[in-house]
Symmetry: C2
Subunit: 287 residues, 2 copies
């Protein structure tokens, strides 16, 4: 064991999470980012992008279930869904579980994330092979500008708001998302953790509030992400998380390990320290 | 920085959480355990017992608030409260916030935990100096046998269920707790994480169910604990978490950073993977 390497993702200058690299499966630099996939005894396959944990086999279900189902259940009949990023396929895997979904488009800029996921992360990549799934390789910022009034739900499943993904956390992109949504449409986005990235986090919610009328934050515990307390932003012009929420419909979503309709309600209750940093409308969003 | 040491608490053979030791404040072996307190730039003071993180200044509020307030708010008028263990004082600090509490006894076996906490962890140790607080140095297992029908709430704030604390997670102790409770009394206990200590966790809930009629599990995210998903066991012969729950009373508890009455309700909703391992009555406990 002593000759094995360890990977540590720092959450701040003095602390982090450490994972033993039992076997390196992929270690490449794509035109967009560094991509690494390795095997770990405890958490299975691990994918890093630019040295940040994107997923582990052990807890990716929490992230993907909680990113997808609250938005799809807030909409009474989501038919066309766009996934921005999401190259590992896990988000698509959850989207296609909803019977109303006719077409789930994934627009991912980095084709190598998709191809290596197909090879080494079949448990998420299976989403890309579903008959309802459609995979587009390209820049989602451009794609979404060409698709106005086209989607019921837009799911932003991106890397951290630095580098080439930063534009996905900014007002101009949010305004484009707004135009790509049909009436009653919903956007949901992974929005990092307020615990150790407070500045980013505040800025994201400030910009969401500037572009959308209804903005709500919800959360899940994702042990292998920095801080383990992870948030998601629900945003819409004309829909809140609860008006169309149907517990019976939620109970029929198959193959879930974390999500339940009751968990959807619980997830909108934030710790007080997350309340203080968001607007009043946010605080009233508790389930 | 390169000459500084790091402490890693392993959650399994291949992963853990790592903290930089910026300054060692205490490093002793008491008659019961190894005790270490150090300073870390990001999370403040850190206390280890037998090389396990007991608290960090940054997130101890989550543990202490969520250990104490759900049980005290489930009881309509808690007057006499016993804290088993809890030598850092943080649990007492939360207990004495409730106006109905007349007397909060802390029975801690290791006097050195208390004295070093007073010196280096004043933010929790302040609980021991409150006029309602009474500190007993001794074995809680013996103490509780001598105090039948004496408490409205018993809070078990112990180390992990190995070594000298193991007896605090076993049926004979639970039966003693039952006898020490008045009618309508409640026990609450920190019950580890099911994520990486499934065998312990299952056994704890099996034994709780054997001793008590009403057993419910709830949880909080505690970033610096192993797995970050941490559970608490609520146990009673004749009370459930909701019959006496008064949201207005809960809203009056002062100086909270994580807990809120809505969070108390949300916390009883478990991820599905935690449901499967507990009894049906547990699953029905969702708020």
């Amino acid at each position: 064991m002593s000759d094995r390497k360890w990977f540590t993702e720092f959450e701040g200058p003095g602390h982090g999470r450490t994972l033993r690299i039992d076997e390196v499966l992929v270690d490449v630099t794509t035109p967009f980012q560094k991509l690494k996939i390795f095997e770990n005894e405890s958490v299975g396959r691990v994918m890093l992008l630019d040295d940040a944990v994107m997923l582990t086999q052990r807890d990716e279900h929490i992230y993907h279930e909680m990113l997808v189902h609250p938005a799809l259940l807030a909409h009474p009949e989501p038919k066309d869904v766009l996934v921005v990023g999401g190259g590992d396929g896990g988000t698509l895997r959850e989207v296609v579980k909803h019977p109303s979904v006719v077409r789930a488009v994934q627009c991912e800029i980095d084709v190598e994330v998709m191809s290596y996921s197909r090879e080494f992360l079949p448990f998420t990549a299976c989403g890309m092979d579903h008959p309802k799934a459609e995979v587009v390789v390209g820049d989602a910022i451009e794609y979404i500008r060409g698709h106005q009034d086209s989607f019921d739900v837009v799911i932003v499943d991106s890397t951290d708001p630095v580098g080439f993904a930063e534009g996905l956390f900014r007002g101009p992109f949010y305004d484009d998302v707004k135009r790509s949504l049909r009436a009653g449409g919903v956007m949901v986005q992974q929005t990092e953790s307020p615990l150790f990235e407070r500045v980013w986090w505040n800025r994201i919610y400030d910009e969401l509030h500037q572009s959308f009328t209804n903005v709500h934050c919800y959360w899940a515990v994702i042990p292998m992400y920095p801080g383990s307390f992870w948030t998601f932003g629900f945003a819409s012009m004309d829909r809140d998380p609860w008006g169309a929420f149907d517990e019976a419909r939620g109970a029929k979503v198959p193959d879930l390990k974390y999500y339940s309709p009751k968990m959807q309600q619980a997830a909108f209750v934030l710790p007080r320290w997350a309340h203080r940093q968001v607007s009043l409308s946010q605080e009233e969003g508790g389930g």
